[in-house]
Amino acid sequence: MAAGLALAALAACDDPAWRNPATSKGTAELTPEVNDAAVAGLVKLRPQNQAKFTVVKPMPPLPDWGQAVLGKSLKGLFPSRAPCIGNVDAVRTRYLGVPEGVTVVGWAWDPQTKAAPPRVLLVDDSFLIRGAGVTGALRPGVPKARPDITSPNVGWEALAPRVVGSLDAWGVLADGKTVCRLGHIAL
């Protein structure tokens, strides 16, 4: 009988009232225990832009050419500017492993060569290069919205080893010396 009562009591815990989301009245405010951790410097800055995917994995490595220009001045490496069309769409993936980082995505189009700039650089407020990527990703929606763009392969993806702050995206044109600004994003 005691065993039966114990079983009944345990089975009652199968679906306790506290599991019902509808009865929740709590707020998103952090409890003092978590706040203490924040005060102790354990809690990081909160990102401003929610990524489509967040994974606890290391950021994939940058391409070799991108690694070579990381930390260098955009102005020093690419003195020429030109106009182009493009955008920074979103933070697609946030990597929380070691190294941390983000994949930023967008699209780009060079009206002079009627092609997408082959490479993209991500640059911080001091014009230092913080990330790199390439174009060629399929974006069929872009030529649909803008008939002057004649290729669907105008999408780009770029990696940057940082998860907070903001970045500007610059396209590197086919001559390898000229850059054009594509847009800005807060991570």
């Binding site: 065993a3 079983l7 345990l10 089975a11 815990c13 199968d14 679906d15 306790p16 506290w18 599991r19 019902n20 989301p21 929740s24 009245k25 709590g26 707020t27 998103a28 405010e29 952090l30 409890t31 225990e33 978590v34 203490d36 951790a37 924040a38 102790a40 354990l42 809690v43 990081k44 800055l45 909160r46 990102p47 929610q50 990524a51 967040t54 994974v55 606890v56 946030r94 929380l96």
Partner: protein, 465 residues
């Protein structure tokens, strides 16, 4: 094998009956292995197999499983070799133990049939046995250890005692918590190495040394890898449980105890935590919820470990409520479902491992998945009946009562730790203790009937001529 013949009265009432045990284990191995050949494999199984080929990268999963895969491949038996070995060992160990504990062949056969029947009546036992899960291998070595110990007692043989200690050591190397499975058996082995309480101090010291050495090696196997003996970093395997606890405590207390990095810095409400929380498995909380930030599988760079003790202390009632909710699922007491009562496939893999008999595998998997949720076919009745059998053995003053009590202690200590430490309520986690309970029932009742038959035959008048 015999090293001491000073006391000629056998310590066990029965004999090993080798032929019967081999035949029984072979039949059971065929019934388990043929439909699932070369063994169902989940992520855990394939990861261990991969590490057997590429070397040990982490001790988050104890590497002994990878070593056993390596041995199986080394002798040319492939993945299936380990599958057949662990299944045979489980049933052979149980059969030898049961035969040693029961004098009459009839009651030994009845006990063996009852033990096999447990896999049919509680299909999650069968479903778990079909897979390459460490829970099964752990149980196999634990049962082999028991058999070796009983053989050591019967023949007063030190090599068999060493084999028993080694088997328990391998079981502990496969699953840390297997130490609890033998939490009373180990002291009993020291106090009565050959099941006789009049053991000299030297014998007890030797038995203790054997156990310490084997459990020490088991511990070492999770800290240094083979073959280069390189020290492995601490895998922080408790972080998953702590993350699960913070989710459960937050859901119950209606407060947010999740460090911000668990949601990549995005604010989350207790309502959203309740939507994500599921006491069946931590991983279920990581599923994307519409309109809610995604909860990540992370120790949040040490924040989870930092916040956990404070949260448990502050919300101890909620901590117990959450752990009880997990335990209810773990023991099969939940009303509607049984969580992962088996595994029905070999996950996609680059090694070309596929099921040899997919139709048979589908048939047995269907049987397990449809029958396991039935309330009366869940494992908890085993845990209710086993103490009754042990109580009956004590009431009848059975010579094996201490042994059965030690087995029962292990069968209860094992899930007791899971109450506090389980990061999930997979049915397979209690496979070792459920099998121990099934063995206690089968062997205990057979031993009781055996001794009753003995009393009756001794008391009955001589047959008329």
């Amino acid at each position: 094998m015999r090293s001491d013949t000073s006391n000629l009265t056998p310590a066990t009432p029965g004999a090993p009956r080798w032929g019967l045990c081999v035949a029984y284990a072979l039949a059971a191995t065929l019934a388990v292995c043929w439909p699932a050949w070369p063994g169902m494999m989940s992520f855990d199984s394939l990861y261990a197999y991969e590490q057997s080929r590429t070397g040990i990268e982490t001790t988050l999963w104890p590497p002994m499983h990878a070593y056993l895969f390596w041995l199986s491949r080394r002798v040319g038996a492939g993945v299936g070799g380990l599958f057949a070995f662990q299944t045979f060992l489980l049933f052979f160990g149980a059969a030898v133990s049961l035969n040693l504990l029961v004098r009459r062949t009839f009651w030994a056969l009845a006990g063996l049939a009852a033990f096999a029947l447990a896999f049919v009546v509680a299909p999650e036992l069968y479903g778990t046995a079909l897979a390459h899960w460490r829970d099964v291998t752990t149980t196999s070595f634990a049962m082999a250890g028991l058999a070796a110990w009983l053989l050591a007692a019967r023949y007063r043989a030190w090599p068999a005692l060493a084999l028993a200690a080694a088997s328990f050591g391998v079981a502990a190397a496969l699953r840390y918590n297997a130490v609890l499975l033998v939490v009373l058996i180990a002291p009993l082995m020291v106090w009565a190495p050959f099941l006789r309480t009049e053991a000299p101090a030297r014998t007890r010291a030797l038995a203790a040394s054997l156990l310490v050495a084997c459990f020490g090696l088991a511990w070492a196997s999770t800290h240094w890898r083979l073959p280069d003996f390189r020290a492995m970093p601490d895998p922080h395997s408790f972080a998953g449980t702590q993350e699960f606890d913070l989710l459960g405590i937050s859901a119950c207390a209606d407060k947010v105890y999740l460090p911000p990095l668990m949601t990549a810095g995005w604010p989350i409400t207790p309502r959203q935590i309740r939507m994500a929380y599921d006491p069946r498995h931590l991983q279920l909380a990581f599923r994307p919820q519409p309109g809610a930030p995604q909860i990540l599988e992370t120790d949040a760079q040490g924040q989870v470990e930092h916040v956990w003790p404070h949260a448990v202390k502050r919300e101890f009632g909620c901590y117990l409520a959450h752990r009880t909710a997990v335990f209810v699922q773990q023991m099969g007491l939940a009303k509607h479902d049984r969580f992962i009562p088996g595994y029905s496939r070999i996950d996609p893999n680059p090694y070309g491992l596929t099921l040899a008999h997919p139709r048979a595998a589908a048939a047995v998997s269907y049987y397990v998945s449809t029958r396991a949720p039935q309330l009366w076919r869940r494992p908890f009745p085993l845990y209710l009946l086993a103490p009754i059998v042990v109580a009956a053995l004590w009431w009848r003053r059975s010579p094996a009562r201490r042994l059965f009590l030690a087995l029962l202690g292990g069968a209860f200590a094992y899930p007791a730790l899971l109450f506090f430490a389980a990061p999930a309520a997979d049915a397979r986690y209690i496979f070792p203790s459920s099998i121990l309970c099934a063995f206690i029932l089968a062997a205990g009742v057979a031993a009781l009937m055996d001794s009753s038959a003995g009393i009756r035959s001794a008391a009955s008048p001589a047959p008329r001529s």
